[in-house]
Amino acid sequence: MNIVVCIKQVPETTSVKINKDTNTLVREGTKSIINPFDMYALEEGLRIREKSGGRVVVISMGPPQAEEALREAVSYGVDDVFLLSDRAFAGSDTLATSRTLACGIEKTGDFDLILCGKQAIDGDTAQVGPGIAENLDIPFVAFVRKIRELDNHTLKVERMMDDGYDVLEVSLPGLITVVKEINEPRMPSLKGKMRAKSINIPIWGVADLDMSDSETGLKGSATQVIKIFTPIRDGKREILEGSIEEQIDLLINKLNDLKVV
């Protein structure tokens, strides 16, 4: 079984600082980690390989330093890692990112199952996994908490819902995004860490993926970030007094004044 795991390098949330002038994350000097939800995807990939054989390929899109996240993935025992990195990818929204990752995944070779974390802890969109599946035109299930059955053609999973879970069956190749209930990620191994130190990581850019500039990066994005700001919480409150009828009239007047009704 050929498994592809998508990972994202994210800042460790406990150490993130905000630049007050630009309202953006200060990434310099901030420790980067593999997105925690992706660790569950990685672990699940390794468990499937241990049971059914095959190989686990890990792919990431990001700046050159995302290579560190891929090296860490190697220390857990994955077979191959690939980095998608190019200045032309900069500014990609979830649409452009999933399109780019889909091209990268196709270039890694045949695949049966793609695993992603349910969302990244920095952007929190949960869109890239499903976006990849759409681009590759394969079925997907989000928020998987358990793989019940898996063979070369089909996959039966439990999808976590607010009030329980669904059992779904999909044909392969397919994609799932996983939640933390699915497993407990392992520790790296010493042999893995040694291999991670020396492994040569292929870096693919726009040209390698046969993409045009308009398909990725800022140009390939459907959303544009106009402004980033921290919402001001000025929490004004006013207590209306009088009889219920008087309070209602006062409230209606106030809402009319604020032009919100």
Partner: protein
């Protein structure tokens, strides 16, 4: 302090630290309370290749030495020496085979130990044979192609949990220590059973039991080396493994120091963090200084042993005796810094203090270590001309 570790050594230290932080720290109090053997943690250590550090590559190990092993032991000990003794105790059981076993014995037993599939344990102590190993009463008598073992070993670390036991037995009682031999007994052999698990003051996550042999028959191929070599094997093995106790000690000290300093920074009395008082600073300063001195001595001993040196008894004993005495003192001081909180089980230092005591006792009491050092001094100086 930078001890100029190689890249691999640093990797071992980092990995062991990560496992200690993420897998040992959160459960150490519970393991202690419930006296529960840390099977899951041993599995994690095995899967991370750390069980194979000190075994040669041809037997499935990573080809490291005493130092690599001690770096891992130190980091695990920072979290819990009850767990680290389960890890390191297997090495103690394996060393007689590794150092003195035949090629067949190494091929048969070491790969499973290196992969962590099987744990080993070492059986020397008996009710009447502690510091004086010549008092061993367990016997092994050759009968055809088998040795028949009878007797009881006491306080065996890893008892019941390990699969492979290297046991020191008397093959010729009339010859005293020269009549002792080392022999391999596998768990499950008929006539080999375990006594009840001991209730201990500290290192309660580790299993300590009797090994009971009652007409237990093992193939004569299980003899390690020759008959009569048992005592020498035991002493040589202990020479190599004592720095491991030193590594436990420095890890424990570091854990106690970390806890004490962090507590002193946060605890406020008289309107200030208590670390701002010199009375507290001086305790912490001594704890830190003694810990670092221990570390320097233990690391030096390890490097000397790994250099292939033969005369390692003295430095090995020094590393053990100094660091374990320091660990006792540092953990007592850590409890003092935490005051009443330190005496409560809500904080880890009371456990550390209970745990520390064993370091001055096992693998040769600290009095025996001083005997070893004293004997070596006599030998050394006898060979020197007076000035």
């Amino acid at each position: 302090m930078d001890y100029f570790l190689t890249e691999t050594q640093q990797m071992i230290k980092d990995l062991a630290r990560q496992i200690a932080d993420e897998r040992v720290m959160p459960v150490r109090a519970e393991l202690d309370e419930r006296e529960e053997f840390p099977r899951d943690i041993i599995k994690v250590l095995a899967d991370s290749d750390l069980m194979g550090l000190c075994y040669p590559e041809q037997y499935g190990g990573l080809g490291g030495g005493t130092f690599e092993n001690c770096l891992a032991v130190e980091e695990i000990s920072r979290a819990c020496i009850g767990v680290s003794v389960c890890y390191a105790g297997s090495g103690l059981g394996a060393y007689p085979i590794l150092l003195f076993g035949s090629e067949e014995q190494k091929m048969k037993y070491i790969p499973d130990m290196a992969s962590g599939k099987k744990l080993a344990a070492f059986g020397l102590t008996e009710a009447n044979a502690g510091s004086d190993a010549s008092g061993i009463q367990t016997t092994a008598v050759l009968d055809g192609d088998e040795y028949v073992i009878n007797g009881t070993k006491q306080w065996i670390t890893g008892g019941g949990e390990a699969e492979i036991y290297t046991v020191i037995v008397m093959t010729d009682k009339s010859r005293g220590t020269r009549g002792a031999s080392a022999i391999i007994v596998e768990k499950g052999t008929e006539g080999f059973s375990f006594g009840t698990k001991e209730k201990k003051m500290g290192i309660r996550a580790s299993a300590t039991t009797e090994l009971v042999f009652s007409n237990c028959r093992v193939p004569k191929e299980n003899l390690i080396g020759r008959e009569g070599r048992g005592f020498v094997i035991a002493m040589r093995v202990l020479d190599r493994t004592r720095p491991g106790i030193g590594a436990q000690a420095i890890g424990l000290c570091q854990g106690a120091l970390d806890t004490a300093v962090n507590y002193a920074r946060e605890r406020k009395q008289f309107g200030k963090p208590i670390i701002s008082f010199q009375a507290v600073q001086h305790i912490l300063a001594d704890m830190a200084t003694q810990t670092e001195a221990s570390r320097a001595l233990v690391y030096s001993a390890c490097r000397f042993i790994d250099s292939g040196a033969k005369n390692i008894s003295k430095i090995s004993a020094m590393a053990k005796v100094f660091s374990s005495d320091v660990a006792m003192k540092v953990t007592v001081d850590a409890v003092q810094v935490l005051g009443g909180y330190g005496y409560m089980r809500d904080y880890p230092v009371e456990k550390m203090m209970r745990d520390a005591k064993i370091l001055q006792i096992y693998e040769g009491t600290n009095q025996i270590q001083r005997n070893v050092i004293g004997q070596e001094l006599i030998k050394e100086y006898a060979g020197k001309k007076k000035k």
